[in-house]
């Protein structure tokens, strides 16, 4: 785990240097940053909009914004968190302007609190494919936090910065995402019965 930590630190250092070079107008640095982050950023955007073309447009907007605002990068967060924050902001602005649905907390319906059995049991019964399908059908706001947590491996502090919510809400949103997943799997089981 320590080795993983060291690797992370050296990658973080390289990232910071890339942003410094981009701020100085080095085009090659933006190319390198793009090569490193294109997959995670694009896949993150695909969770905010299912439209492939729009996700590409948003990724372009993100890169233009990175080029233009690299000077204002304060090193308060990691480069990945900063990039995800920019991508998310671009996506929200564009989706709002075009009247498309947002991965917004407002769409969270109150989840019923039926604690008949622990989530762990329902999840343990589900197959891997069922679980992947259920995650893909979660509300965007729940899918978003699962992706940022488990794919981008953001810490709670970074999640709080990227999503603009307090750490307490990060924890409750994660737990709600798990509960929503269980409810979805249970509903499927009901249909199959």
């Amino acid at each position: 785990m320590q080795r993983k930590g060291c690797m992370r630190e050296s990658l973080a250092e390289q990232d910071q240097q890339m942003i410094t070079r981009i701020a100085a107008g080095d085009r090659e640095a933006l190319d390198n940053l793009y090569l490193r982050y294109r997959q995670p950023l694009f896949r993150f955007l695909l969770h905010l909009t299912p439209d492939y073309g729009l996700a590409e447009e948003l990724l372009q907007d993100t890169l233009v914004a990175v080029w233009q605002s690299a000077r204002s990068f304060q090193r308060r967060s990691s480069v990945q968190t900063w990039l995800l924050g920019i991508a998310r902001r671009q996506a929200h602005n564009t989706l709002r302007q075009r009247g498309l649905p947002l991965a917004d907390a407002s769409e969270l319906q109150a989840l019923p609190t039926t604690d008949q059995e622990p989530e762990a049991l329902t999840l343990a019964r589900a197959s891997r494919d069922e679980l992947v399908a259920a995650i893909n059908h979660l509300a965007p706001v729940h899918r978003e936090i699962l992706v940022l947590t488990f794919v981008h491996e953001l810490s709670y502090v970074e999640l709080s910065q990227t999503l603009g919510i307090p750490i307490g809400t990060v924890k409750s949103r994660l737990s709600n995402a798990k509960r929503a997943l269980r409810l979805r799997l249970e509903a499927r089981e009901e249909v199959e019965r």
């Binding site: 785990m1 993983k4 930590g5 085009r27 933006l30 190319d31 793009y34 294109r38 997959q39 694009f42 896949r43 695909l46 969770h47 492939y52 996700a55 590409e56 990724l59 372009q60 890169l63 233009v64 080029w67 622990p118 989530e119 762990a120 049991l121 999840l123 343990a124 589900a126 891997r128 679980l131 992947v132 259920a134 995650i135 893909n136 699962l146 992706v147 947590t149 488990f150 794919v151 491996e153 953001l154 810490s155 709670y156 970074e158 924890k171 994660l174 737990s175 798990k178 997943l181």
Partner: protein, 305 residues
């Protein structure tokens, strides 16, 4: 038992971060020790592991962006920015936006404000007409010139009190800046009071004669000044202080003009130049309004503390 439950809740909240190795080092041991002794939390960790795996699998199955995407970025960055057109467009966009904000704010201002202002000015007008039904005198206009500014000053007292106005709180939670909200509300109410007062002045000059512009000048400057002072005081010190401030200004003006002891008259004399329509009064009023606009976001913060 209760300690165990609350400890479980604490550990359960940390499990996703524990899986990612983003939990603080000092907490890792605590999580591990708890997990070794707690069957329930072990099962929850297993559930999170399944979610982690499934989330990663789902994302890995998504396609990547097309190869030429970065070229599109460079093409956009290398495009020359049309400077002059943009500036004009920006100004136009700002005007349109202001229009939208103004229209959106109209139904949000308390209904009582419109009614009270119009009713008070109407009562004042009829008071003037009935009390001074002597042709050839402009006393009615002078009395009107004294009270109309107070009515206008009074009507802005509550337009920006977030703690007392749930609709304002709603307006402030929208992306429109608090300055824009205050400015549009002020423009609406001051414009409304000006329009009603102009109509009243026209009616008075029609009945009693006299120059319309001269009669208007009697109250226009004071109205602007009293409104600006009321606005600023209500933001900084509250409604009561604002009302006191506006009344004090009017009272001092009355003292300076009246037949009270000469010492009072001399002391209040400089205020006479404030109860007129002249460049000094207008500049002063605009400066007070500017201060209100600077102060508005601060007041909002204090209200939410």
């Amino acid at each position: 038992m209760s300690t165990e439950t609350s400890d479980c809740q604490y550990i359960l909240d940390l499990l996703p971060a524990y899986l990612n190795s983003t939990v603080e080092a000092k907490l890792v041991r605590r999580v591990r020790e708890h997990l070794a002794a707690c069957q329930n939390c072990q099962e929850e960790l297993a559930a999170w592991e399944m979610i982690q795996e499934a989330t990663r699998l789902g994302v890995a199955a998504l396609p990547g962006p097309s190869g030429a995407l970065l070229e599109g970025v460079w093409a956009r960055l290398d495009m020359p920015a049309p400077q002059t057109a943009t500036r004009r467009q920006l100004a136009l966009r700002w005007l349109l936006h202001s229009g939208h904000v103004l229209r959106a704010q109209t139904p949000l201002v308390r209904k009582g404000i419109w009614l009270t202002s119009a009713a008070t000015i109407a009562v004042l007008l009829f008071g003037c007409i009935s009390a001074f039904l002597t042709p050839g005198t402009n006393v009615a206009e002078v009395v009107f010139a004294f009270f109309a500014p107070l009515v206008a000053g009074n009507s802005v007292l509550t337009i920006y009190q977030p703690e007392a106005d749930p609709r304002l709180e709603l307006a402030l939670s929208a992306p429109t800046s608090s300055r824009m909200v205050l400015l549009s509300r002020l423009a609406l109410i001051l414009g409304y009071d000006l329009a009603v007062s102009l109509a009243a002045t026209a009616l008075l000059t029609l009945i009693f004669g006299g120059n319309f512009w001269a009669a208007g000048a009697l109250w226009f400057g004071p109205m602007l000044l009293v409104t600006a002072l009321s606005m600023l005081l209500s933001l900084v010190l509250g409604t009561l202080a604002a009302l006191t401030g506006a009344l004090s200004l009017a009272l001092a003006h009355l003292l300076a003009q009246g037949s009270l002891e000469s010492a009072w008259r001399v002391a209040a004399a400089p205020l006479n130049s404030l109860w007129q329509t002249n460049p000094l009064v207008i500049v002063l009023a605009l400066a007070l309004l500017a201060l209100s606009l600077i102060y508005a976001p601060r007041q909002e913060r204090i209200a939410s503390d």
